[in-house]
Subunit: 142 residues, 2 copies
DNA sequence: GGGCTTATTGATAATGATTGTCAAAAGCGA
DNA sequence: TCGCTTTTGACAATCATTATCAATAAGCCC
């Protein structure tokens, strides 16, 4: 019913996302675009990314800090191993996890189950910041 | 170095969290407390929940909508199957997932890896809302 | 109990990401 | 080009969370 029009803005976002090798936030992508001379608006970047994600042309996930990150999508359902520092992402598939998630849900009578499975860390190119040897166990919130 | 003082506020948050059978947000817990006649401040609820979480006395996770949710914790590392509607949570353990996460991280040279593994759905007591049979695949962002 | 020192509280302002508004600008089919 | 709609983008509005900071109250010693 609703016709989708082609605008240079949408194309700009799509291609900007392609040049990124990792996940980026809407804010960050907007800055990069502006930095490249584009006059695209922030709201438009948000809209374009949201559209790409719901069209399956981009993956999206929440960073541990609560920001929504996006990345050009290859295809199909999969998960990611993401660098906390540079955003680099490695696509990972795990059929075991898929069946596990599905089973644990139905086992407890849950329907319309979705799952969030992500692994965050520091890639080999990024130095992990002041690693407090023992102190915080794992995900102590800032 | 820093002595922790006991206040009725902290105790109020702790016990309020205990009465919840599922995950709740700081905002929501604050409302409940206020509704029960307590004059506790919002910032205090945030602080108390944050402390409980970092002390390991509460579990915390991000809802798909980006809110931070908390729940009285039993003990040890585990994951959850959460009802999108009532917040009911079932603790689930999966050693397979643990080893998988650990391996996939080291396999790609990632260090200080943490993982986010949660399953969201509708529990048997909650009716799934207008299930758009086919329309939206899975997690179309509102 | 009466002070003292200092952690804690809480009303409120500030932050920051995301969304809503709506008039102006731009697709696109005729 | 014309006209109808979709899209844009500057800006305001939300909303959860955090920062401020003066006032309050634990824990403690006398
Ligand atoms: Zn990195
Ligand atoms: Zn999956
Ligand atoms: Zn439920
Ligand atoms: Zn785990």
């Amino acid at each position: 019913m609703v016709m989708q029009r082609n605008t240079w803005q949408r194309e700009a976002v799509r291609s900007a996302l392609d040049t990124q090798m990792g996940f980026v936030s809407a804010q960050s992508l907007h800055s990069k675009l502006r930095g490249s001379g584009s006059h695209i608006g922030l709201a438009t970047v948000y809209r374009a990314l949201g559209d790409l994600a719901s069209e399956g042309q981009a993956d999206s996930l929440q960073s541990p800090e609560g920001e929504n990150l996006y990345r050009a999508c290859s295809r199909g359902h999969h998960h990611h191993l993401i660098c906390r520092s540079c955003g680099l992402a490695v696509e990972i598939e795990a059929d075991d996890v898929e069946v596990w998630a599905k089973r644990v849900a139905s086992l407890h009578g849950f329907t319309q189950a979705e799952h969030v499975v992500d692994v965050f860390g520091y890639c080999s190119s990024c130095v992990a910041p002041s690693a407090e040897s023992a102190a915080n166990p794992v995900s102590a919130r800032k």
